[in-house]
C-alpha cells in the first residue's frame, strides 16, 4: 500500500544516525580526496598539476592501459570460462556436482594474492611444475610473470563469481521456454543463442561488473606476480606509500580518476542491464540430464579440470605449510615448524585479525539490520540516499577508500590513523553491503501486513521490530554476516594501506612474508585462513540452508 502513514518516529532518528555515519566515514573522506587532488600539497594553492602530470607522462598512462588490458581480459575470459561451466552444470548430470559447487565456492573465497603466490610456487621460475617439465620433458614452461600470470590468477579467482551468477539465473529459466523453442524447431546452439543467452544477459552484465570491479581494484596479484607490470592500484600504492618521494596529492588525483572511471562503468552497466532485465521464476526449472558418450566425457573433463585448477593454489599452499623448512627454503620431510613460527612470529597478526573482524562483524550486523529495514520498509528520499551510500563501496576500490580515510583522519579533530579504529571503520564500510543485501532479501519476503498485525495488536514500533521483524530476518542477517566475515579476514587492499606495526592483520602478514620469501610461515597463515573460511562457509550452509552465496 502506498498510503502508509508517514510519521516522525524512532526510525527517522535511526536513519539520521546512519546517514551521519556514512557522511563522516565515506562521503567526507572521498570529498577530502577530491580536495587534495586539486590543491598542491606544498603550497596549498589550487592546481591542476597532478592531473596534468598524470595525463602527460607515458609512465602513468602505461599503467592505465595495463589496468584496462588486465580488467577487460579477465572479465571476458571469466565469462568465456564460467558461462559454459554454469551451462554444463545446469543441463548435464555431473557426478559429484554438489561437491564441485562447494569447492568452486571455496576457491572464490580466498584472497587473490594467495593464488598469485601459489602459482609462483607452481609455475614460477623455480616452481615445481616448471622444474618437473624441464627435468622430465626438457620443456620450458611459458613465463608466468607479468600480464599472463595476472590473467591466470584473476581469471581462476573471479570466474567462480560468474559461475554462481549464471547458475542462479539458469535456475530461474523455466524449462517450458526451452521446450517452446524446440517445438518451434529452434534447437541446439541456435536455441542457446536465441533464448538462453538473451535471458541471462542481465545476469552476465551484473556478474561481469563485479568481476570487472574486483579485477580493476586488485592490488596484491599484480604486486606479487606482475613483476613490474604496473596497474593503477599498484601505482596508487607506490605513490602513496613509497618512502622516497611518495606524494599524497598525486595519489589522491589518481584515485579521483579511478573512482570516476569506476562510476562511469557502473552507470553504463546499470543502464544496459535495466533495459534488458526480465523477471523470471521457474516453476519447472531445467533438469540436468545424463549426457552420452563423448559429450558426457567432455562435460565431466571440463568441470573437473576447472575445479582442480581453481583449488590448486589453496591445496598446494596447504601442502607446503607442512613441509620442513630450513631458514627460508623448503627441505625434504614434513613438520609443523611453519605453524610454530607463524604463531610465535606473527601471533599478534592472528590476534589482530580476530579481534578487529569480530568487532567489525558486530557493528555490521547491527547496522545491516537497521539499514536493510530502513531501505526496504521505509521507502522515501532518505532511504534512497542511504541505498546509494551502501552501493558506493562496490565501486570505490579498497585501497582508495584506505587512502581517503587516512588523509581525512590523520589530523585534528579526529585522529584515527594508526589505530585499529580506522581499520574497523574501513572494514565496516566495505563489507557492510553483503550483510545488507542478504538481510534485505529476507525482508523483501516479509509481507507488510505482518508488521501491521503486530501494530494493530498494540505493539509499539520498536517492540514490533525486535519481537517480530528481527526474528524473521535473522537467518538472512547471519548468512550475510558470515560472508562479510570471510571477506574481512581475507581482505588485503585496504589493510595494507591502513595497518601499522600494532594493527597488522593475517593477510598483511602473509603478504609481507611472501615478499620476504618466507614461504613456510606464509603458507601456514594462508592455510589457517582457508580453514577458517571453510568452517565459516559450512556454518553459512547450515544457517541459511542454501548451497550458494550471493555477492
Amino acid at each position: 500500500m502506498s498510503g502508509r502513514m508517514k510519521r516522525w518516529d524512532i526510525w527517522s532518528l535511526i536513519t539520521f544516525v546512519i546517514f551521519v555515519g556514512y557522511l563522516v566515514f565515506l562521503a567526507l573522506p572521498l570529498f577530502m580526496l577530491l580536495i587534495k587532488s586539486f590543491f598542491d600539497s606544498n603550497t596549498g594553492d589550487f592546481s591542476l598539476a597532478y592531473f596534468h602530470k598524470f595525463f602527460s607522462k607515458a609512465y602513468y598512462m602505461n599503467a592505465v592501459w595495463n589496468s584496462i588490458k588486465v580488467t577487460v581480459s579477465v572479465t571476458l575470459l571469466s565469462i568465456l570460462v564460467a558461462g559454459p561451466l554454469a551451462y554444463i552444470m545446469t543441463i548435464a548430470r555431473i557426478k559429484g556436482s554438489a561437491a564441485v559447487r562447494i569447492l568452486i565456492l571455496i576457491s572464490s573465497m580466498s584472497a587473490p594474492f594467495i593464488g598469485a603466490y601459489a602459482w609462483i610456487l607452481l609455475l614460477g621460475r623455480s616452481g615445481v611444475i616448471t622444474a618437473f617439465m624441464s627435468r622430465v620433458f626438457g620443456f620450458t614452461m611459458p613465463d608466468v610473470y607479468g600480464f599472463s600470470g595476472i590473467l591466470l590468477v584473476l581469471t581462476l579467482q573471479l570466474s567462480p563469481l560468474i559461475f554462481m551468477y549464471v547458475s542462479g539465473a539458469l535456475k530461474n529459466v523455466d524449462n517450458s521456454l526451452m521446450e517452446a523453442a524446440e517445438s518451434m524447431n529452434c534447437t541446439g546452439l541456435r536455441k542457446m543463442w536465441k533464448i538462453l543467452v538473451p535471458l541471462i544477459t542481465p545476469t552476465l552484465l551484473a556478474g561481469g561488473l563485479l568481476v570487472f570491479m574486483r579485477a580493476f581494484a586488485d592490488f596484491g596479484t599484480p604486486m606479487l606476480i606482475g613483476e613490474g607490470y604496473r596497474t593503477v592500484p599498484v601505482l596508487i600504492f607506490n605513490e602513496f606509500i613509497s618512502e622516497v618521494g611518495g606524494d599524497d596529492g598525486f595519489a589522491a588525483a589518481i584515485s579521483v580518476i579511478v573512482v570516476l572511471f569506476a562510476v562511469a562503468v557502473f552507470l553504463l552497466q546499470k543502464y544496459v542491464a535495466n533495459r534488458k532485465s526480465y523477471s523470471m521464476s521457474a516453476l519447472n526449472p531445467i533438469e540436468p540430464k545424463k549426457l552420452k558418450g563423448w559429450a558426457n566425457l567432455a562435460a565431466h573433463a571440463y568441470v573437473y579440470l576447472f575445479t582442480v585448477l581453481a583449488l590448486m593454489p589453496q591445496v598446494y599452499v596447504a601442502y607446503t605449510s607442512f613441509l620442513k623448512t630450513s631458514g627460508k627454503i623448503f627441505v625434504d620431510g614434513y613438520s609443523l615448524d611453519s605453524y610454530r613460527a607463524a604463531f610465535s612470529k606473527v601471533g599478534d597478526a592472528i590476534y589482530n585479525t580476530f579481534m578487529m573482524a569480530s568487532i567489525t562483524i558486530v557493528i555490521i550486523t547491527l547496522a545491516a539490520v537497521l539499514i536493510a529495514y530502513v531501505t526496504v520498509k521505509r521507502k522515501g528520499a532518505g532511504a534512497n540516499v542511504l541505498d546509494t551510500f551502501t552501493m558506493l563501496p562496490y565501486i570505490v576500490p579498497g585501497s582508495i577508500l584506505g587512502i581517503a580515510l587516512l588523509v581525512t583522519f590523520n589530523k585534528e579533530p579526529l585522529v584515527l590513523s594508526g589505530t585499529a579504529v580506522i581499520l574497523i571503520v574501513a572494514f565496516v564500510i566495505r563489507r557492510l553491503p553483503y550483510t545488507i543485501r542478504s538481510s534485505a532479501a529476507v525482508l523483501h519476503q516479509v509481507n507488510d501486513s505482518i508488521e501491521e498485525a503486530a501494530i494493530s495488536l498494540g505493539a509499539s514500533t520498536l517492540r514490533t521490530f525486535f519481537k517480530i521483524t528481527v526474528p524473521m530476518m535473522i537467518s538472512g542477517v547471519f548468512a550475510g554476516a558470515i560472508i562479510s566475515w570471510i571477506s574481512i579476514i581475507t581482505e588485503l587492499s585496504t589493510s595494507i594501506i591502513l595497518y601499522t606495526g600494532k594493527t597488522r592483520t593475517m593477510t598483511v602478514a602473509v603478504y609481507t612474508e611472501v615478499v620476504r620469501g618466507n614461504y613456510g610461515v606464509a603458507a601456514a597463515l594462508s592455510t589457517l585462513l582457508t580453514v577458517i573460511t571453510v568452517l565459516s562457509l559450512l556454518l553459512f550452509f547450515k544457517l541459511s540452508g542454501k548451497k550458494e552465496v550471493t555477492m
Binding site: 500500500m1 502506498s2 498510503g3 502508509r4 502513514m5 510519521r7 509481507n447 501486513s449 505482518i450 501491521e452 498485525a453 503486530a454 501494530i455 494493530s456 495488536l457 498494540g458 505493539a459 509499539s460 517492540r463 519481537k467 517480530i468 526474528p471 524473521m472
Partner: protein, 368 residues
C-alpha cells in the same frame, strides 16, 4: 466493548488522485458489516482507514462519536485479520494468540486462560503448540481470527480473509466466522469482492464502486431491490432488458417488454415519470422468469439447457435476438429441449424497473 463506527464525509487521496470522495456511513454497534465491491473500488482503503494504516485526508472517522482520525493503530483497540493471515511464522499458535495480550500487559495466568478460551472458541486448541508452517490454510485462518478477537477489540476488521482458501473450506470458514462473531458480538467490518460470501455472513452490506457507496442494506434488500443497475448486475445474476413504461387504465403502471408482452407492475414511483411513456430498463433475475405455457409472456427459443440437479439453467433467445438466462426448479418442470419454443412470463412483484441511465430504481421503498 463494541462500538458504533461513523464515517462523516471521509476523503482519501493518494497525491492528487482522490480515491474516496466524501463518503458517509454509519455502522451499528455489534453489527456484521461488509464492504463489497470489485477490486479497486476503495473497500480495502476504507478498512485500512478504520485500522489506522491509511491516513484520512478529510472528514471524521468516529468510534462512538470519539474522533479517531489521528489515533495510531495500536491505540485504537482493533482486531485485524489480514488477507494473507500475517501469522508470525517464528511464534507458535498460542504465542501468536498471546501477542496482543502481552502488549496489553495482561498477567500470565489470565493470559493463558484467555488464550485457551479463544482457541477453544475457534476450535484449534489441539494445535496450540504447533508452529504456523505446520498448519493448513483453514487452521492458520482460525489462528488469525483468534489472535484478533482475544484482545476483546472494539472493532474486528477483516480484509478478504477467505480469498486464499479453496472453495469448500471457504464455505466452512465463513460459517465459522459468522458463528464466532455472533458469539462474541463484536462490531465487525468485513471486506470482500465475493458477493455470495458477503450475503452469507453480513447483517448489512455496503456495495461500493469507484470510492462511492452505491447502496447499503441487508442482503435481502440488496438482492431483491438493488438501488441501481450496477448493484443489480454485481450482486447475483440478472437479465437487463429495454422496455417502455406507460400509464395504464385506473392509474396503474404498465410495462411493455418486446412486441407483444405487457404487465402491470405495482409499487412504482409514478411521480418520477414526466411523459406519458418512458424508455426504461428492467432487471429480471433468472429465477424470476416463469415458463408460462400458453399464457401471456415473451416468446423465445431455448438455445441451451444445463441440468444442475436442484436447478435447470436455460438460455433462451428472445424475438429481438437477446439471450436471457432462466433458472427453473428441476423438480417442478418437464425437461425442456434445445430448440423448443417457450413463453417467459415475468413476476410483476419481483421485477425492478430503472430509468434509462440505470442510475435509479423506480420501485418504491428502495433503501439506500
Amino acid at each position: 466493548m463494541s462500538v458504533a463506527i461513523s464515517f462523516k464525509n471521509i476523503v482519501k487521496k493518494y497525491g492528487d488522485t482522490t480515491v474516496i470522495p466524501e463518503l458517509s456511513l454509519n455502522i451499528q454497534k455489534g453489527e456484521f458489516f461488509t464492504l463489497l465491491g470489485p477490486s479497486g473500488c476503495g473497500k480495502t482503503t476504507l478498512l485500512r482507514m478504520v485500522a489506522g494504516f491509511n491516513s484520512i485526508e478529510g472528514g471524521d472517522l468516529g468510534f462512538n462519536d470519539k474522533v479517531m482520525n489521528n489515533v495510531p493503530p495500536g491505540k485504537r483497540n482493533i482486531g485485524m485479520v489480514f488477507q494473507n493471515y500475517a501469522i508470525f511464522p517464528h511464534l507458535s499458535v498460542s504465542e501468536n494468540v498471546a501477542f496482543g495480550l502481552e502488549n496489553r500487559k495482561v498477567g500470565k495466568e489470565e493470559r493463558q486462560r484467555r488464550v485457551a478460551e479463544i482457541l477453544d472458541t475457534v476450535q484449534i486448541e489441539i494445535y496450540k503448540n504447533r508452529m504456523p508452517k505446520n498448519l493448513s490454510g483453514g487452521q492458520q485462518q482460525r489462528v488469525a481470527l483468534a489472535r484478533a478477537i482475544v484482545i476483546n477489540p472494539d472493532v474486528l476488521l477483516m480484509d478478504e480473509p477467505l480469498s486464499n482458501l479453496d472453495a469448500q473450506l471457504r464455505v466452512d470458514m465463513r460459517n465459522a466466522i459468522k458463528r464466532i462473531q455472533r458469539e462474541v458480538g463484536i462490531t465487525t467490518v468485513y471486506v470482500t469482492h465475493d458477493q455470495e460470501e458477503a450475503m452469507a455472513v453480513s447483517d448489512r452490506i455496503a456495495v461500493m464502486k469507484s470510492g462511492i457507496i452505491q447502496q447499503v442494506g441487508t442482503p435481502r434488500d440488496i438482492y431483491q431491490r438493488p438501488a441501481n443497475l450496477f448493484v443489480a448486475t454485481f450482486i447475483g445474476r440478472t437479465n437487463v432488458m429495454d422496455a417502455k413504461l406507460e400509464r395504464g387504465a385506473g392509474g396503474s403502471m404498465v410495462l411493455r417488454v418486446g412486441n407483444s408482452y405487457s404487465l402491470e407492475v405495482p409499487g412504482l414511483q409514478e411521480e418520477l415519470l414526466s411523459a406519458a411513456t418512458a424508455e426504461v430498463k428492467v432487471s429480471v433475475r433468472p429465477e424470476e422468469f416463469v415458463l408460462a405455457g400458453d399464457g401471456a409472456g415473451l416468446p423465445g427459443t431455448v438455445v441451451n439447457n444445463v441440468f444442475l440437479g436442484l436447478n435447470t439453467h436455460l438460455v433462451v433467445a428472445l424475438e429481438n435476438g437477446q439471450e436471457v438466462e432462466v433458472i427453473q426448479q428441476s423438480a417442478s418442470t418437464q425437461a425442456v429441449e434445445i430448440g423448443q419454443q417457450v413463453t417467459l412470463a415475468i413476476l410483476p412483484e419481483s421485477v425492478n424497473v430503472y430509468d434509462q441511465s440505470g442510475e435509479r430504481n423506480l420501485n418504491r421503498g428502495i433503501r439506500l
